[in-house]
Amino acid sequence: MSRARSPAGSVCRRWVVLVALLAVAVPAQADAPSGARASRVPQPTVAATAAGSCVEDTAFMRRNHMELIRHQRDLTVHEGIRTTRHSLANCVNCHADPKTGRVTGSKDAFCEGCHSYAAVKLDCFECHADRAQAATATGSAR
């Protein structure tokens, strides 16, 4: 039984396991494609060709885009504030798939790609237009 084994033998075994794990993990890191963060799970692919930068920092937008959109929606519906910086229409205009012109409809589409990957229900576009229509906005981001 292992309980009968000496403590020194147990420590030695742990080292062997650790070294073996490192030997497997290090080449996997090296194989990761340059530019992408090393990950052992597949990442979502999004066909986004928006020129320039987003209205906020990308890392911030990944976590907080829903808060910005929700805040803007209440301002627009109830008070009639129609600034385009954080409006959903502005998101769609920039992030639509260049081939389909939409942000939903396929696993590569900007919104649906990430939402289906994260298994978060996306119900904006049951009511809102999911196509880029640049002429509808009141102009540039104000």
Binding site: E79, R82, C127, R142
Partner: protein, 242 residues
């Protein structure tokens, strides 16, 4: 050559002067900038309303309905349950004379739809426009029962290809928004524009709070009526000639 230049300048000056002249009451080719910037909320100092001159409204014209459907992305092929924000109504008086008028949300100052809404989705904006916040609407249809004008519709079927300015979808109640997205851009509601384009000029849009506005002057000058004035809802849509 000099004379030709002068003549051209004169014509240009006339053109500019003509463009400023009202092409119809309340409608000018261009207007002085008076709109609020997009970052500013709708103001309580305004109350948007419409005056429909029923005598100018033709029974065989439904330009306002067509324009509304197009502007707001409503289905053009109507079924028994499809949404309808504005409709033409035939009125018959006791002697058999008929009148035709457009009927839509009357944008009441005391809207019964807002009173009965259990979620607060039905609301009145600061400038008097009665709207549904579809994010909060649960589709209970109390407002449809409360509205004396039958102005509201329920969306029964899934909707696709909505207009970016007019999001709409299955399970919500909706009605005339007075083309709020156009008003916020300083444009006239689609029905008003279409009525003028059809040559009838029956609908006048403006600020009921401003005594100097064309609509306020007309209401002060001629006999106008609110439909079901007995309910004391103080409607924003007024009618002349009924």
């Amino acid at each position: 050559m000099k004379g030709v230049d002068h003549a051209r300048r004169q014509i240009l000056a006339w053109g500019a002067a003509m463009a400023g002249v009202a092409i119809a009451p309340g409608i000018t080719l261009f207007d002085l900038a008076h709109g609020r910037p997009p970052s500013e909320p709708a103001s309580r100092t305004k109350r948007w309303g419409m005056l429909v001159d029923v005598n100018r409204c033709s029974a065989d014209c439904n330009a306002c309905v067509v324009a509304c459907d197009r502007e707001n992305g409503l289905p053009t092929a109507k079924t028994a349950t499809s949404a309808q924000w504005i409709r033409k109504v035939e009125l018959k008086d006791i002697r058999g004379a008929t009148k035709s008028l457009p009927m839509m949300c009357q944008h009441c100052a005391e809207p019964p739809c807002v009173d009965v809404c259990p979620t607060g989705a039905s609301f009145k904006r600061a400038d008097g426009i009665v709207l549904v916040d579809r994010h909060t609407c649960i589709g209970c249809r109390y407002c449809m029962m409360a509205c004396p004008y039958k102005a509201r519709s329920f969306v029964h079927e899934p909707v696709s290809d909505q207009k970016p300015d007019v999001p709409r979808g299955k399970g919500c109640v909706e009605s005339c928004t007075l083309c709020v997205h156009r008003i916020d851009r300083d444009q006239l509601p689609a029905c008003v524009e279409a009525c003028a384009a059809s040559g009838h000029h029956a609908i006048l849009f403006g600020d009921l709070n401003d005594p100097g506005s064309e609509i306020s002057k007309r209401i002060a000058a001629v006999a106008t009526r609110q439909v079901r004035a007995d309910l004391k809802l103080d409607t924003g849509v007024r009618y002349q000639g009924i």
